[in-house]
């Protein structure tokens, strides 16, 4: 049984506490004497604060304190940016935890109220008087970079946070040649601003002890160890007196990577008052102040020969960063975007300029896929346009340009070394599985009742499993990217595992137990995984970038193999045999040829712990620890197909079917993999069809609540068909890659291409996402007019 546990879709061990309401999320924590913080956030996108009067609020019922920017002066350092992008003229604007002179987006914190009850805090917010002198604002990244745009930060000219470039080959020559004798495709793509919408809003509970100077911070974070470090930097509390706990965390999608001003303001309040303080954001506050994603204006062009061979790619991106640079923000539209620009294809020359631009919006951070969906979309859209231009099937243009199958490394023009992949194989299997040729024939028969069928392909490869640390240093990431695991056998053969990563819905308590079980033959039920507490777990860099299984899973496998090695030596000693004569199979150690006289791992665990009879020099106990720094990234890939129907009378887009083929290497738990794909795909579909954060001309967030921001709902989606291929990563101890972001990286482009494919006979050339019925209908009317 145990040897087959790897690859088994067993039920998740996380679920019993979640389906019975007994899990503890940050909001559920109650401590003796606990009081509540609520934040007053700016009502202006850009304004000078000329006066703040908190006297009335301070006198309101239940209010213990009101603090403003003046109160935190010297006590809270500015928010750090932790991705110092090299060679990019990076300019980091001062990012105070509480704004005291100028507010730069409608979520900037202006004051905090601490009260006995949250309701008393909210009542008191209304009693704080703030006089603002409004300043001109700008939220569009391209407009913010233009001459004469309102300036956000006095010392940062042109609002330019950075200018980053990537280039390989001679792109200009490729375009000159294509202009003369080939084809050039140009497109402007708007990757709209998105709101991540983890179902659990963010929050923090801070408990500071004046007696010991120690702080415990419960937080809705994806990376408690990074938060501990950043909390130390901002609050000045030394790391050894800081404990960060990520309890049950209700989804993140990138929005819980960053450290936030409100977290440290909550710490400040606890320190000032000597009482535990809880802060939980409302959903509206989440929209106003928790990081957003995407927000690119992309001008892209593709050079190709007349028979569909790509010869070059050039692009200029204006990436909106929001009012300040969030923790990891500069790396998202650059490293995680630009280095993946050649995708699954052989592209001999490319060049990209990325301008990071300050705007009067919520800071933009990683959002599921983080830079890679924006790269995949660019390429997949241009390839479909090239197919249209040349009268070829989009699948054929992809085939013409794919990197051929490779098993152990392939260097691409952006200098990355992809690990393994079979992109043509993935597409072929997808087309066969979905009956693509039949669907094309159905489409060729013409519209039915004014409804046009459209097919959209998206072939993708992504970079994930973020590490190695040496690369992290070279690209300016202010941390390492290894992961850790401690495996501890108890006398009865039960196992505790402590990991540095911090899962928050991905199910690693289950899959990691499966890794242990498959590596050393215990039942997965005998393995308990601990995570999310900096006092209880070894250092780790967190759960994002599809890296927990890819890097943390590798750390765990290596640690268990260390245990196996020690157990083998001990077994040989107990069986009075030479270690070289020992064999291991399915949790049993025995002398070659004598499997009936085996020592089980449980026997070994007992002897190691009681230590009555150990080989000379062997330490007691059965425990191993690993810090695993991967030799390279991993590169999952796949091909997706979306089928849509567009009603020309109403502009309504109906997603008729969706098939995802993903290759994340060997699957530890296929049920969990499938679930990750479902969720990822639907988030990408959301971007194509419904989602988009919008600011009005004065910088007010128009999509300020779930009433206004259209999230995917069950009744608007077809069943998602999930299939896979299996290509091992040559450098990973288990051969596995990552699957958390794959769906999102592929699906926006697939759905977009499908809708444009449906609209092609009507002469529609481009429509900005999301495809609301109004936009689609207007595009159809405009094309008719033309």
């Amino acid at each position: 049984m145990s040897s087959r546990i790897f690859g088994s879709g067993i039920r998740r061990r996380e679920d019993p506490r979640l389906i019975t309401g007994s899990a503890t999320y940050t909001h559920d924590i109650v401590l003796p004497g606990m009081v509540h913080a609520v934040m007053l956030r700016s009502s202006h996108a850009h304004a000078r604060i000329t006066r703040i009067d908190t006297e009335q609020a301070k006198a309101a019922p239940g209010v213990l304190a009101v603090y403003t920017g003046a109160d935190i002066e010297g006590a809270l350092q500015p928010m750090p940016c932790a991705w110092l992008l090299p060679d990019s003229d990076l300019k980091i604007a001062a990012y105070p935890c509480i704004a005291s002179d100028v507010v730069r987006y409608t979520g900037d914190i202006v004051a905090v109220v601490v009260a006995e009850q949250p309701s008393q805090g909210y009542d008191a917010l209304d009693l704080i008087e703030v006089d603002y002198e409004p300043l001109p604002s700008v939220t569009d990244p391209e407009a913010a970079a233009a001459d004469g745009a309102p300036q956000l930060h006095a010392d940062i000219e042109g609002n330019q946070a950075f200018h980053w470039t990537v280039a390989g080959g001679d792109a200009d020559a490729a375009f000159a040649e294509a202009e003369a004798s080939g084809v050039v495709i140009k497109e402007r793509i708007l990757q709209q601003r998105l709101i991540p919408n983890a179902m659990e809003p963010r929050g923090a509970v801070a408990q500071y002890s004046r007696a010991t100077g120690e702080l415990t911070l419960w937080n809705t974070t994806q990376n408690p160890h990074i938060l501990r470090f950043l909390c130390s930097v901002v609050t000045g509390i030394p790391e050894d007196k800081l404990r960060v706990i990520a309890p049950e965390v209700g989804g993140g999608f990138g929005s819980k990577i960053a450290a936030y001003p409100a977290d440290f303001v909550t710490v400040f309040c606890s320190k000032q008052l000597g009482r535990p303080v809880k802060w939980i954001e409302t959903r509206s506050e989440n929209y106003q102040a928790t990081t957003h994603g995407r927000d690119h204006v992309q001008d892209v062009e593709l050079a190709a020969t007349k028979d569909g061979k790509i010869t070059g790619l050039r692009c200029t991106v204006h990436a909106g960063m929001g009012a300040y640079l969030s923790t990891a923000a500069p790396g998202i539209p650059t490293i995680l975007h630009g280095l993946m620009l050649s995708g699954c294809y052989t592209i001999p020359a490319l060049k990209e300029d990325v301008y990071g631009v300050y705007t009067n919006g919520v800071p933009v951070e990683a959002y599921r896929g983080a830079g890679r969906p924006e790269a995949t979309f660019m390429l997949e859209r241009l390839i479909d346009m090239l197919a249209g231009e040349l009268g070829m099937d989009p699948a054929d243009v992809r085939r013409r340009n794919f990197i051929p199958k490779f098993d152990d490394g392939h260097k691409v023009i952006t200098t990355l070394n992809y690990d393994s992949g079979d992109y043509p194989g993935a597409l072929d299997k997808l087309l066969e599985h979905t009956g693509y040729a039949g669907l094309r024939a159905q489409q060729a028969a013409g519209p039915v009742n004014g409804k046009y069928l459209g097919l959209g392909l998206s072939s993708y490869v992504e970079i994930c499993g973020l590490g190695p640390s040496q690369v992290a240093g070279a690209i300016g990431f202010q941390g390492g990217l290894w992961e850790s695991a401690i495996v501890r056998f108890h006398p009865t053969g039960k196992v505790h595992v402590f990991i540095g990563a911090s899962p928050h819905g991905q199910g690693e308590e289950t899959t990691f137990a499966q890794i242990v079980a498959s590596e050393i033959g215990v039942s997965s039920d005998d393995v308990k995984i601990f995570h999310g507490d900096t006092d209880a777990t070894p250092m780790g860099w967190g759960t994002y970038g599809s890296r927990t299984t890819a890097v943390g899973g590798a750390a765990l496998a290596v640690a268990v193999r260390k245990i196996r090695d020690k157990a083998k030596v001990l077994a040989a000693h107990l069986l009075e045999a030479s270690v070289d004569d020992m064999e291991y199979e399915d949790g049993k150690f025995f002398v070659k040829g004598s499997p009936d006289k085996a020592k089980t791992i449980q026997d070994i665990a007992l002897m190691a712990n009681v230590a009555w009879d150990l080989p000379e020099g062997m330490e007691a106990g059965l425990e191993a620890s690993t810090f695993y720094d991967p030799p390279n990234f991993v590169f999952p890939y796949g091909a997706h197909l979306a089928v849509v129907e567009v009603d020309t009378a109403t502009g309504d887009v109906e997603l008729k079917g969706y098939t995802a083929l993903d290759d994340c290497g060997p699957q530890i738990n296929p049920t969990i993999v499938e679930g990750q794909v479902h969720g990822g795909v639907v988030q990408g579909i959301g971007q194509a069809l419904w989602e988009g954060a919008a600011y009005d001309d004065s910088g007010q967030l128009v999509t300020g609540s779930m009433l206004d921001y259209a999230l995917p709902r069950a009744d608007r989606l077809p069943p998602i068909d999930v299939i896979s291929t299996v290509t091992r990563s040559p450098h990973h101890p288990l051969g596995v890659k990552g699957i958390g972001e794959a769906g999102t990286i592929a699906s926006t482009a697939a759905v977009y291409n499908a809708v444009m494919d449906a609209l092609k006979p009507l002469g529609v050339k481009r429509v900005d996402m999301p495809f609301t019925p109004e936009r689609v209908w207007r595009a159809i009317q405009d094309a008719k007019g033309a």
């Binding site: 996380e14 506490r17 309401g21 659990e200 965390v249 819905g505 199910g507 499938e674 069950a714």
Partner: protein, 157 residues
């Protein structure tokens, strides 16, 4: 001014004097101490706070505690019998109908309402029945499978 409110939650009577504006979800979480019921939004969109009031589902963030005076409430903690999971809980577990778990209590209770009013729903009816509850993790696919599975299990009981 406070008003006395008496609500029976999962069979236990909870009596508190509350401000008239107190929402039922806060009564359940803060006064009865049952934190399985979640708050995911402030506009009655997400459905994380769904509970049963006298057997009928309601969003407890849009109901005043005072309105529920005298009512019997079932929250996620009271859905099973303490020993055995409710078939819906079992199906959500079996079909991987949850990931982060935050929407799950509300989603299970909304599914309870769906099956109460339609014991054998079609796929489209399940999807329609759950459109008032948001989930960001699962893409709903496995939730739909879980509800279908639970309908089958409950029909056999």
């Amino acid at each position: 001014m406070k008003v006395p409110v008496s609500i029976t939650i999962n069979g236990r009577v909870c009596e508190h004097e509350v401000e008239p504006r107190t929402l039922l979800v806060h009564f359940i979480r803060d006064l009865a101490g049952l934190t399985g019921t979640k708050v995911g939004c402030d506009t009655s969109q997400c459905g994380s706070c769904t509970v049963l009031i006298d057997g009928v589902s309601a969003k407890s963030c849009t109901t005043l505690a005072a309105q529920a005076d005298g009512a019997g409430i079932t929250t996620i903690e009271g859905l099973g019998d303490g020993e055995q999971l409710h078939p819906l809980q079992e199906s959500f577990w079996n079909k991987h109908g949850l990931q982060c778990g935050f929407c799950t209590p509300g989603m299970i209770l909304a599914s309870h309402e769906l099956l109460r009013t339609n014991a054998s729903p079609s796929e489209a009816e399940i999807r329609h029945g759950l459109e008032g509850n948001l989930c960001r993790c699962t893409g709903y696919e496995n939730i739909v499978r879980a509800v279908r599975d639970a309908a089958g299990a409950m029909a056999q009981e």
